[in-house]
């Protein structure tokens, strides 16, 4: 696992508090996998958020944007 920059640590802590650790994937290999599409590989994401319902999705996005964290929409991977 990569070492997170301090501001990333704060953002990750904020969203973890909002949605619970089970909804977040931070494993390095999984993050790399979720940073590719069929043609290109992009910069590696910090975490993958897998909400289980609408309210959790909303809580997670609110927590992330309040922490100033760019969220990138992902469709089924």
């Amino acid at each position: 696992m990569e070492i997170l920059a301090p501001q990333d640590d704060l953002a990750l802590a904020a969203i973890t508090e909002a949605v619970g650790a089970e909804a977040l994937i931070t494993d390095a290999a999984e993050r790399a996998y979720h940073s590719q599409d069929v043609f290109s590989t992009g910069p590696t994401v910090l975490a993958v958020f897998r909400p289980t319902d609408k309210d959790m999705l909303a809580r997670g996005i609110a927590a992330a944007t309040q922490a100033g964290w760019p969220s990138s929409r992902g469709v089924a991977a």
Binding site: A5, D8, A11, I15, A29, A32, Y33, H34, S35, Q36, D37, V38, F39, S40, T41, G42, P43, T44, V45, L46, A47, V48, F49, R50, P51, T52, D53, K54, L57, A58, R59, G60, I61, A62, A63, A64, T65, G68, W69, P70, S71, S72, R73, G74, V75, A76, A77
Partner: protein, 442 residues
């Protein structure tokens, strides 16, 4: 799934949202003919729930629907099944969208659209730039109870396009798609006998009666695939309706148009098998030998199809030596969408390393049979350049696109006032520019 960098963040450290666990079908309302799903529900799951009730969505998914989600379709847009009814977002009635501040916006009525300016339409095909869809309500229609299938061979692109356009203008086919000679040859290499057997059983089951199943099954087996040897362009069509006599009459009308434009009827195995197996494993996201694969596409009115085709072929001709030297090959899928528009989708194949994404998406048994090529930045750069040049050709001809994301030039194609309006909307729903930054060019 994207091939236009739909969800690839511009900088490291983004949060990626995967709605795959939000995959419930929330309500099938047979009285009002609507269905509401969570955004991570796949097209395959939705179709399996609706089919036993004799229902389908107005446009009911892409061939990748085993993985592709309804939410992905609403954000990126797509087209294949039910194309006579338009692209997949044409089936949308309303969305619930989570905005950047975590509030949930409902786009409007769940049975009628538009009630005033079309807010559902605003979020449709937004590529995630305006928010994240949580739930989606779609229009339902009765699935057909009678089908007729037709396939035709055409000697050249002119004949092919004139026939496909003439058939589309009449609104005769629920789906109408074709392959250029190269892509057709690739398809023939791809399909394995075991896959055929499984697809054949599904096709036979779809025939309604045991007798018809045996008859159609025997026909497909007897036809084999030799009927596609030496076919230059092929066009495949499905008529979907209520009465066998009606869809058969429509297919007769299609045949008359095809023949008039130089087409020749061939065995209809391909549309018959595909309709019975609408969401096959996504093994075709790599080439038949394990090469990498990527499409690029444009929608055009009938009047500009041949010019676009000729310009793309001229581009390939001008780059022939380099493409051959780098092992880059190109084919094309072609399709009609509603009555006024057709799709040209060139696809590239080149020898290059498969990524984890491909390895996880393919069936393990298929992956095991493929060649594995080393990483090949040189060939890939040729593909990247040609793809961009095709986007320029499409731009010159005023084409439109699905999956705009980070690949197609929406701003350049837009009226400056319309673009200013879109930027103002982005500013309103996402003032800090945090939601999928760069998507749509915003």
């Amino acid at each position: 799934m994207s091939y236009t960098s739909g969800y690839l963040a511009p900088e490291a450290g983004a949060l990626l949202i995967d709605t795959g666990s939000m995959n419930s079908i929330l309500d099938i309302n047979e009285e009002d003919m609507t269905v509401t799903v969570e955004s991570g529900c796949t097209w395959d799951k939705l179709q399996r729930a609706l089919k036993p009730r004799g229902l389908r969505a107005l446009a009911w998914g892409t061939l990748s629907g085993i993985n592709a989600t309804v939410g992905g379709g609403m954000s990126q847009n797509g087209v294949f099944w039910g194309a006579l009814g338009g692209t997949v977002v044409d089936a949308a009635l309303s969305f619930e969208v989570v905005l950047a501040d975590g509030t949930i916006l409902s786009t409007g009525s769940n049975f009628f659209r538009p009630f005033g300016p079309d807010i559902t339409g605003l979020f449709a095909a937004d590529c995630g730039a305006l928010g994240v869809k949580a739930t989606i309500t779609l229009k339902l229609v009765r699935e057909g109870t009678a089908f007729s299938y037709g396939s035709f061979s055409f000697p050249d692109a002119n004949a092919f396009f004139s026939a496909m356009s003439a058939i589309a203008r009449e609104g005769l086919a629920s789906e109408s798609f074709g392959f250029d000679p190269y892509l057709q040859a690739q398809r023939m290499k791809r399909d394995s006998l075991t896959k055929d057997a499984k697809s054949l059983v599904n096709m036979m089951k779809a025939q309604g009666s045991v007798l018809k199943a045996l008859k159609e099954g025997a026909k497909v087996v007897a036809a084999g695939r030799s009927f596609l040897d030496d076919v230059p362009f092929s066009l495949h069509l499905i008529c979907e309706g209520r009465y066998q006599s009606a869809v058969d009459a429509d297919m007769k009308a299609i045949e008359a148009i095809a023949v008039k434009h130089g087409g020749k009827p061939i065995e209809n195995t391909i549309p018959k098998i595909m309709r019975a197996n609408p969401f096959p494993p996504v093994n075709s996201m790599v080439g038949p030998e394990g090469e990498r694969w990527v499409p690029v596409h444009g929608f055009l009115p009938h009047s500009r199809l041949v010019e676009a085709w000729d310009r793309i072929q001229a581009l390939f001709e001008a780059n022939k030596a380099e493409m051959e030297a780098q092992g880059v090959a190109a084919g094309a899928m072609l399709a009609a969408v509603n009555r006024s528009t057709c799709l040209i989708e060139p696809v590239f194949f080149w020898p290059d390393a498969l990524e984890e994404l491909h390895c996880r998406s393919l069936e393990p048994s298929h992956l095991a049979k493929l060649n594995r090529f080393p990483a090949n930045a040189t060939s890939r750069a040729v593909v990247d350049r040609l793809r961009k040049e095709i986007v320029r050709i499409f731009r010159d001809l005023g084409a439109t696109h699905l999956q705009v994301a980070r690949t197609y030039p929406l701003e350049e194609a837009s009226d400056p006032r319309a673009w200013t309006l879109l930027r103002a909307i982005k500013q309103t729903v996402d003032p800090q520019g945090l939601m999928n930054p760069g998507s749509l060019g915003l």
